[in-house]
Amino acid sequence: MKKFLALMLTLVLVMMSLAACGGGSGSDSGSGDTIKIGVFEPASGDNGAGGKQETLGIQYANEVQPTVEIGGKEYNVELAIVDNESDNSKAVTAAQDLVSKGVSIVLGSYGSAVSIAAADVFADAGMPAIGVTCTNPQVTADCEQYFRICFLDPFQGTVLANYAWENGMKKAYCLSKQGDDYSKGLVNYFIEAFKKLGGEVVEEQFPDKNSDFTSYVANAKKNGCDVFFSPVSTEAAALIIDQAEAQSLGMPILAGDTWDSNVITGAAKGKNVEIVVTTFYQEGGNPEFDSGIKEWMENNADAKTNNGGNTDLAAVTAMGYDAYFVALEAMKAAGSTDPADILAALPELNATGLVCGDVTFNEVGDANKTTAFVKKCNNETGAWEFVKEQAAE
């Protein structure tokens, strides 16, 4: 009986894999007028919330523009979405799964570590990939296939340091998450720039799964800092804001692009905490997009849930939207659905009409972006207020 069960299981497995394999190659050759765009984003794990919001932007863009004309032929665009679980060991199989599904280009991921992990898979397959909000320089540094449409950590760190220094903050408390290369990287660049300006720094890290930020807030106060810099994931951010309020932190909190999210504004609403972030997208910069996506989320229960239960916009959603159109532009420019042709067309691409500004790529594959938006949270309305555009210099 046991052996029978074992063999049945194996048999089912083999059948399923045959179905998966057969199905995959069948749809490749069978339907010539569909083109697949791979979405490589986390839907679970530490960055699940952000990844979902980024995916939303891509899905909305797909809703707005479901077809693309390549070389005089109309193609339907289909999204192939995989969950990389914010985990380096799962990212490799997830990336390979996308490649195996026969996608023409890949978008993502939120979180740089998984993007770096997947880079080799994409490189082996000659698959072009467009990083949406992965700001770590290592993503594109040694990978021919990886492009990205956002600014980089060294740039963002400098911008944030400049902002802090210009506003009379002399001593910064920097908090990053242990084992999270995004927050650690950004903190490193911030410290570098801030020290160059003459500032003083206290740096600490918190272990993952930590939800008790009392002592970190107390440490910042104890050290007499002027600014609390913690560009961490939104989960931790909401808890930090809460503790900052409970202990009357008394200094502004400064953070990077991840904090430009409705999670933060939701947490900060009605609290006496000053929050300043740098970001890609200025809400209200493109009213048509704003109202369009809000309406879409209002009519789509799943989308609204994935956005955290309301229709407030996160910067990563706008970036996801842009990434989709950059991908379409690249396909048009290539005049082909072949990954190799698209890859060849990407360096020369000039994508316009995007909500976060035009995109051209430099020789490394990074977008030429020279300014970031500085936004401040209005604690009464729970909305972002535009402060200024800040350049690195």
Binding site: G48, K52, P207, D212, S215, N219, K221, E245, Q247, V263
Partner: protein, 294 residues
């Protein structure tokens, strides 16, 4: 004075989180005392109580939500015991522990599915989250309420164990499972009551804990659960006052460690403490010596 001023915020935070660990730890220590099982799913019952509160408060008044959350935790805990532990009671201890790990995996993944992996913000419970100042420190009201409430609940529990019939049955079963069953004690009932008490306290703990740290996600229960278990071992597994003392020690110590700047090792410290205790005094502070019978 300067010393106290500097460290007061850390000690307050430690006492508060210690009280919350204590409420979870009681569930671990009682279940272990009776079943000799590390109930890995206990931390997830705690997480689920928090999650249910988030959903209930949107449609029901606060007092009713609190009652329903406690009932939910009790139902969940006893169901887990009935479905996943009872059928394996005569199986090797490893199987039942694997079953506990499996239940924990299921509860976490189910929470992931329901919440979509997004952090849920815990509702504000009126005065619990009000800010108060004590000397140099400002903190939430819940920080002050937790230790008091914890001690009251533990006092009641100890009274129950010492002076009621079911309490006597519990002590008997934890001393010797087989003999007490031969003496006519309804083992199933004792175990159910144990789970009921443990889960109810975990639910109360979740209200206090998440009022203080207001984000809930599927993994929120894992770390507090492990720390509470370490607290139970520290105090001597099976001993309720021991678990409470252990929890306060761990809560205060981990916050002081963060205070002196060793933030990297604040979680690792808990496990260092566990290993030291297991090496030096495996029975814990208040534990009784266990003799192996052939």
């Amino acid at each position: 004075m300067g010393f106290i001023q500097t460290w007061l915020p850390y000690i307050l935070a430690g006492v508060a989180v210690g009280g919350q660990y204590a409420l979870i730890a009681i569930g671990y220590t009682m279940v272990y005392g009776i079943l000799r099982l590390i109930n890995f799913a206990h931390g997830d019952v705690f997480m689920w109580s928090g999650l249910i509160m988030v959903y209930l408060i949107t449609i029901l008044p606060l007092w009713l939500s609190v009652i329903l959350v406690i009932i939910f935790a009790i139902v969940l805990g006893t169901t887990i015991e009935k479905v996943a532990y009872r059928p394996l009671r005569s199986a090797p201890r490893m199987s039942i522990m694997i079953s506990a790990i499996g239940v924990s995996y299921l509860l976490q993944n189910f929470a992931l599915y329901i919440t979509g992996g997004l952090t849920k913000t815990y509702p504000t419970i009126g005065w619990l989250q009000r800010t108060v100042s004590i000397g140099s420190a400002t903190t939430k009201m819940v920080t002050l309420v937790t230790p008091v409430l914890t001690i009251v609940l533990v006092f009641l529990l100890v009274m129950l164990i010492k002076h009621t019939k079911i309490g006597m049955a519990m002590r008997a079963v934890s001393r010797d499972f087989e003999t007490s069953s031969l003496m006519g004690i309804d083992i199933d009932r004792v175990i159910t009551v144990t789970f009921v008490i443990g889960c109810a306290l975990a639910a109360i703990g979740s209200i206090l804990y998440f009022s203080n740290y207001t984000g809930i996600q599927p993994m929120s229960g894992a770390m507090p659960g492990l720390k509470a278990f370490v607290a139970a071992v520290f105090g001597g597994i099976g001993s309720v006052p021991g678990a409470v003392v252990g929890a306060f020690v761990i809560g205060v110590a981990e916050n002081l460690i963060k205070g002196i700047g060793w933030t990297n090792f604040s979680d690792a410290f808990t496990f260092v403490l566990l290993i030291i205790i297991l090496m030096v005094k495996p029975t814990g502070l208040f534990g009784e010596k266990n003799i192996d019978k052939v």
